[in-house]
Symmetry: C2
Subunit: 439 residues, 2 copies
């Protein structure tokens, strides 16, 4: 049973999406059942990084969203229009929709979701927030038993990259923004990122899912990072904090009833908080709920590969549900068909590697006799068995012995053990006190 | 449409599960459709922390797994037997099963999953790994488009608690283990935790899901933390590492073909790695895949509330699929029924709080005239508006001014802004240079 997919757009995310679908090995078996039948592009002549037959390309986007053969329309063109109109037309035509378009969803979710509800189709948007980080589906499914109280997220990679560099280098905002633009981490017009508008789009989407209601995007308070001075980053450090652009959605119970706080602003995050350690272009979403407590989702917030990972996951989730539906929910023997993503699968045995064949770094603490050149001797002994050392720490004497701690480079465990046996047999080595693997 | 749930066991996780189901407000609307109709317990007389009618309690566990009215059997009794036999009997009787039992699944998944496949029922086990952390379902659904290359997890809370305290206090393993036992963080017989057997159960389950095959639990290499000395933790720190008990599953491609590395052992984790910052009883699972890159799931690895959060999520996921199936997949107007967890829902508008009503801490950097008592003056001015200060840093002069950085306690933004206006109007205050909220 094949599911037919129409792609609107073949930019970086669209290309990443097609690359996954054309290379199904070692992914979920259902990937093999997905077929890209049409790809909407602006120019038919542009060279492409994917090996798709020329016949699937078209400049007629309307023909994709109305094609009776297409099951799932994937909107990866971005921008408000024509993305919005095309999604609505796809929905009207009974297509399920997968989109990575946070701006269009944040602004038009009411219209789009109402149309989808009416047509009985799914609109999935995992890629719209946090790039490759699973967060939308976990909020919908894995945390659905919770009463969510607060979401705090680092959900804009550009500003997190700039703030991380400002902290690491002590530089000024303007200089690092200019450099980020030169490197492609920030756009020529950086407004949406540095003024917090992109993060506001995303927190509006997350809040709507977590708190189960419509959220007016224009009501999200947002403050960007343009005014953060190097002095503030230094003071924050001194006080035990790091400055991050956080997007916050929080349930607030007042005498007047319940309302939501929705805000994007620079925030001093305590060093002990899990969000304080999220650096560079990484994103993280910290969710608090009853009874789960605190959970965090961390990963790459953007990029072709990660975003395409989320897009294809959404396509597969729809295909799994369609497979059950089209199988008329029954197998030949009368038992119900199961969702292939949630069912137990364990058709083959995994071959397990013997521990000797694994490769890792090792930390070794050993006690040697207090002789000149003992570090050289240990290094040579390891070297003879192909084990090279990355760092060596020698400490003071312990009685007759000298304590030495070393970290090796990557080595096969079998070879490493041979070297260790050889060392143990040496008169000048009193004891191998510890051996611990290194990540 | 109500879904009937039978609970096997009413210990901490069972009680947490019942508490969620009996208190559906502000959770997913589907929680209201779940009804606990039977609870299997050892003693009918024991006082309970949940308000369930006496009639639902029974000591006859067989009567639960064979009850024709029950849709979903929830196994939260733990242990290998009779948990295994009851799950198999429930499956034979066409019940879907939700379990938190990592040991039984790690050992008997082949038998249990084969029976489930034959009977056409789901066996969901989100709570078996990582307590309340969504990781099983994200691996099955949100990351299904990926070719997973490696999973590295801190998936045993007891050992992570011990290692965290050893690092923070510089103490010895035996002392801290004894204290952890006294505090209830470690069991009287700590073998399963400190020797890595519990983590081995869990990585076997994760590997089976991530790599799509059967995993022989007995082939998992495991080494515990009994031999970790305070010296090793100090050397590791000196070298830029922290020692964690990691469970690793990794795809290894050799000339002989593909095999899996499966190992649990203490590991030196570089300080810059996201896993290095996972402390105390928290767990985290770090997943690497193509094309997603690196993602991490973080949260409470155990406890009644978090584990029950995962158990109820599984129950809801099954109920959602049953609702579609029983609705014969069609609504009255002919459009298909949608999975209520994945469908777009936005029936009500969320009331958004004005920013003035939000409560948070603030960091303020201000420049004042260089006069005696200026810190007292600033403190008094804030105090008059109900803003109390948590920390104050005063630095050297900047020209005619003195720079002062303060962090307030929690305060309503409206009141804080009034205080700030008042301060700005003072002759002795030259400039409010920065105002940044604090998490």
């Amino acid at each position: 049973m094949a599911f037919k997919v129409g792609l609107l757009g073949l930019g970086t995310v669209g290309t990443g999406t097609a690359q996954i679908l054309l290379d199904p090995a070692q992914r979920h078996p259902l990937v093999k059942d997905l077929e890209i039948t049409k790809v909407g592009v602006r120019s038919l002549d542009k060279p492409r990084d994917v090996d798709l037959p020329q016949a699937v390309f078209t400049t007629d986007l309307d023909a994709i969203v109305t094609d009776p053969d297409i099951d799932i329309v994937v909107e990866v063109m971005g921008g408000l229009e024509p993305a919005r109109s095309l999604m609505l037309k796809a929905i009207e035509n009974g297509k399920h929709v997968v989109t990575a378009n946070k701006a269009a969803i944040a602004l038009y979710s009411d219209e789009i979701f109402t149309a989808a509800e009416k047509a009985g189709v799914y609109v999935l948007l995992e890629a719209a927030v946090g790039g490759g980080i699973p967060v939308i589906e976990p909020l919908k499914q894995s945390l659905c038993s919770n009463r969510i109280t607060r979401i705090s997220g680092i959900i804009n990679g550009t500003t997190n990259y700039i703030l991380t560099r400002m902290k690491d280098e002590g530089g000024a905002f303007d200089d690092i923004l200019a450099d980020a633009q030169a490197l492609g981490y920030a756009e020529a017009d950086p407004t949406a990122d540095v003024d917090g508008l992109d993060a506001a789009d995303k927190i509006a989407i997350l809040a709507s899912l977590a708190f189960g209601g419509r959220v007016d995007r224009t009501a999200v308070y947002s403050e960007g990072i343009r005014n953060i001075a190097a002095e503030d980053i230094a003071y924050a450090d001194n006080l035990g904090f790091v400055i991050k652009l956080l997007a916050v959605a929080k349930r607030q119970t007042t005498d007047a009833g319940e309302q939501l706080e929705l805000r994007v602003h620079p925030t001093l995050v305590p060093n002990a908080h899990p969000l304080s350690n999220v650096n560079g272009v990484y994103n993280a979403i910290f969710v608090e709920g009853d009874p789960v407590g605190q959970v965090m989702f961390y990963g790459p917030g953007a990029g072709a590969g990660p975003t395409a990972s989320a897009v294809v996951a959404d396509i597969l989730n729809i295909a799994a549900l369609l497979q059950v539906e089209r199988g008329t929910a029954q197998r030949a023997d009368g038992t119900p068909l199961l969702d292939p993503l949630l069912a137990c699968t364990h058709q083959t045995d995994c071959a397990i590697a013997p521990i000797e064949s694994t490769e890792t770094r090792f930390y070794v603490r050993l006690l040697t006799q207090d002789q000149p050149g003992v570090i050289g001797f240990v290094g040579t002994c390891f070297g003879e068995h192909g084990v090279s050392l990355a760092s060596v720490v020698q400490t003071n004497r312990q009685g007759d012995s000298v304590e030495i701690a070393v970290v090796t480079h990557n080595v096969q465990e079998g070879k490493f053990r041979q070297a260790l046996e050889k060392l143990t047999a040496q008169d000048s080595v009193n004891d191998i006190a510890s051996v611990i693997r290194v990540l």
